[in-house]
């Protein structure tokens, strides 16, 4: 790691569960400040709940698209053709109406009714992982034994990705999202990921299965290019296992550090739903939404921002804004925290939110009921957080029971 990376960029800085106090200071003063992002670019950082909602819901003035010629500093020059192909199908890089076109192909797979049908299978997957963990005996790494495999198994099955390939794609996406790894290597990981997904897409074109890839080929195969299919599937795979797994790991640690609240999640079947929402809010593992680019001169919190500037919204800061919720710094699983921004806001609101919620509502109580004596097996001061990662979480967590 180079000297310049001794600290992650400001919007990613945390102290265990808490966002850096500097974010609160911005929120309490100007609300918006220019900072340097992970690529060394100057961005406008938005920190208040209401301002964040306004930015994220205004896709006309705050665009996810990138103007022609836009390059990340430090990124190798990539031929335009390759760039276009690499961007295809990436919902997070699109604005309406193109965004809506792709999103609507996927949403039938993520309705609440569909999730309810999936529930027994998720219960089964969770129970199987807990069986494995139990028979191996304590101590265990909760990330490797519980937090990572459950969402990975679920998304693999849903999408039609062989679970046996998990070591490769988990390592690839983890490195792809790790800021301490040089950009060329991260882009290389991305390229490998696309090559891998291309092989799955080709197979699905030949023999579409009963999974999301198969559905996309059967129902939208004619209107989707291979590049789009690769992009969509790659995003679902990455988002499906990188996010929920970090919530499961970090959320378990948060509960272990709040024993009364842990007891409620374990013993009260009605507690899990609101607890998941509050954990999403309090932990806000996604540091920021995809940076938006202003398409015109705008003003946020009274600060003028010219056209063509990058705007970054701090989700942990917005979720701890006292103007949004009382005692925002406190974890209180009983309140349920409706209106939190952990899944974003606006047209890009997390597509997989109903799935993530269901996985967590099943997995947290199941873990705590299986191991009622679950305890952290290492000093809290020694716990390794993913400080340089675009999605916050734990590297590992030793537990005993």
């Amino acid at each position: 790691m180079t000297q310049a990376q001794a600290l992650p960029p400001l919007h990613m800085r945390r102290d265990a569960f808490n966002p850096t106090p500097e974010l609160r200071e911005i929120r309490e003063t100007s609300g918006v400040r220019t900072v340097v992002n992970a690529f060394g670019m100057r961005v406008y950082l938005v920190t208040r709940h209401q301002d964040i909602k306004e930015v994220l819901s205004d896709h006309e003035r705050f665009s996810n698209g990138r103007p022609p010629g836009f390059v990340l500093p430090g990124a190798p020059v990539v031929p335009e053709e390759e760039q276009t192909s690499a961007r295809a199908g990436n919902l997070l890089g699109l604005d309406p109406p193109e965004h809506q076109r792709l999103r609507r192909m996927l949403t039938p797979e993520f309705t609440i009714r569909r999730m309810k049908r999936l529930e027994p299978r998720i219960v089964e997957i969770v129970a199987q992982q807990l069986d494995v963990m139990e028979s191996a005996g304590p101590p265990a790494d909760l990330v490797a034994a519980f937090a990572l495999p459950i969402p990975s198994l679920v998304i693999c099955e849903l999408l039609g990705v062989p679970y046996d390939d998990r070591d490769d794609f988990q390592q690839r996406t983890a490195r792809q999202l790790d800021l301490s790894i040089p950009i060329p290597e991260r882009l290389e990981m991305q390229r490998h990921g696309r090559d891998y997904m291309r092989s799955l897409v080709e197979r699905a074109r030949q023999h579409p299965g009963e999974d999301i890839l198969g559905m996309l080929v059967r129902e939208h195969g004619a209107e989707l290019t291979d590049d789009e299919l690769i992009g969509v599937a790659g995003l679902l795979l990455l988002a499906g296992h990188e996010t929920t797994s970090n919530m499961l790991g970090l959320g378990s640690l948060a509960l272990l550090r709040h024993p009364d609240q842990l007891t409620a999640v374990r013993d009260d079947p009605d507690a899990a739903g609101p607890a998941v929402e509050e954990l999403l809010r309090w932990l806000s593992i996604v540091h920021s939404a995809i940076p938006r680019i202003t398409t015109t001169d705008v003003e946020v919190a009274g600060m003028p921002i010219p056209a063509g500037q990058l705007v970054l919204v701090s989700l942990p800061s917005g979720n701890r804004d006292p103007d949004f919720i009382d005692s925002a710094e406190i974890l209180d699983i009983r309140r349920g925290a409706p209106g939190h921004l952990a899944f974003g806001h606006g047209v890009h609101h997390c597509l997989g939110a109903p799935l993530a919620r269901m996985e967590m509502r099943i997995a947290f109580p199941a873990l705590l009921r299986r191991f009622p004596m679950l305890a952290v097996g290492e000093d809290f001061a020694d716990v390794q957080f993913r400080s340089f990662h675009f999605i916050y979480g734990l590297k590992s967590l030793e537990v005993t029971w």
Partner: protein, 64 residues
């Protein structure tokens, strides 16, 4: 009397409305919002208001 208007073209199928007020809202097979009732039933007004507030794409509107 509280009524709800839903703009199905604007809906992004997040499902938040169904999560907080499933007597008032449903999703069709594509995930797009369906308002189940002409008038919000008594006792459900609070949930309906919450759903309108939570909608990430501002597809819902209260009509008093």
């Amino acid at each position: 009397v509280v009524k709800i208007q839903a703009d199905r073209d604007v809906c992004i199928q997040a499902g938040n409305c169904v999560m907080v007020a499933d007597t008032v809202f449903d999703q069709d097979d594509d995930g797009i919002v369906v308002v189940r009732v002409d008038e919000v039933p008594e006792g459900e007004e609070e949930h309906a208001r919450e759903a309108v507030k939570l909608c990430p794409s501002q597809a819902l509107q209260l009509v008093d």
